[in-house]
Symmetry: C2
Subunit: 190 residues, 2 copies
């Protein structure tokens, strides 16, 4: 039986993070994740290659979103303005009721070195796709590479602040602040 | 029997890279690496936690080298000058007869996603230790973080160029060029 399950990937992702947060990443089986989501192991493997990947659901789509936003920035936009447009598009998708889930997910990743490594690989791929999108706009490779890394730093900084329990600012606001602060930092480098 | 073996870690590292390059990382056993180096499996585990770690020998020492060089830069040095001093210290250790070994090592890492992830984790730890060393000099965290990332980008760029078969430039020269180029790129960001 292989019927269509609405939101199967999302349900599996939520079930996995809850189980990992409660009992630790290592101890949870794929069968348990599928059962908690009311799905089968087979459905799990239709969506994810392995247990690790379930924590990085949607990352390929984010890469495309960033690349598209950079490509779609006005022709006269500077590299940092194009990066800013991509961060703003991304940030618009962050709503308050995702905070608890994303905080748990981050804690699971932070607690396991294999997951931290996979997280870095995904981040590196995102940075590389921002670089490529800037080069496609005619930005010179060293500048594109630097701008993409500044964008990744701003994103990381904003995300950590957004996750903070006391935070009341939107992800869009935090990303904009982080990018401005890094822009000022470039002037203090030398 | 547990006698002292001179240069055991280095001999194991060289043996491992030769075997991985010839037969693929996955297919080589720790026993084979130890045998090729004329050592025992037990000696292997005195130096390395697992097969993956043998490719990242010396990385902890590099982190310290970078941190020490940044701490030891003249008080009036700018963040980028302090990073430049660290890169110059590091680059001084690169001699031509290491090129073949390091090129093989890079090819092994590039061919395996687990190794690429570990490589990124090591690079992230190095960047974090540069950031910490700059903050300890009184540099503001966003500037320190940015400078450390620019340093990491320069290092990566210089290393790729140094490994290139046709390259005749020293690592020191390439690192200096990469850092200058990124310095110019900061001005084209916005």
């Amino acid at each position: 039986m292989s019927r269509w399950e609405p939101n199967a990937a999302e349900r599996l992702g939520v079930a996995a993070v809850e189980l990992f947060a409660d009992r630790g990443y290592e101890d949870v089986t794929i069968m348990e994740i599928a059962e908690r989501a009311g799905l089968t192991k087979r459905t799990f493997f239709r969506h994810f290659a392995d247990k690790r990947e379930i924590l990085f659901r949607g990352q390929d789509a984010y890469r495309e979103m960033f690349a598209d936003a950079i490509a779609g920035a006005p022709a006269e936009a500077t590299p940092m303005e194009a990066i800013g447009a991509a961060l703003a598009t991304f940030a618009a998708g962050f709503v308050d009721d995702m905070r608890e889930f994303l905080a748990k997910r981050q804690a699971v990743i932070a607690g396991n070195s294999d997951l931290k490594e996979r997280d870095l690989l995904k981040a590196a791929a995102l940075t590389a796709s921002m670089t490529d999108a800037l080069v496609a706009r005619g930005v010179k490779p060293p500048t594109a590479n630097l701008a993409a890394h500044v964008g990744a730093l701003a994103l990381d900084d904003a995300f950590q602040r957004w996750l903070h329990p006391g935070n009341r600012k939107s992800m869009a606001k935090l990303a904009d602040q982080a990018l401005r602060q890094l822009g000022e930092a470039t002037e203090a480098l030398r």
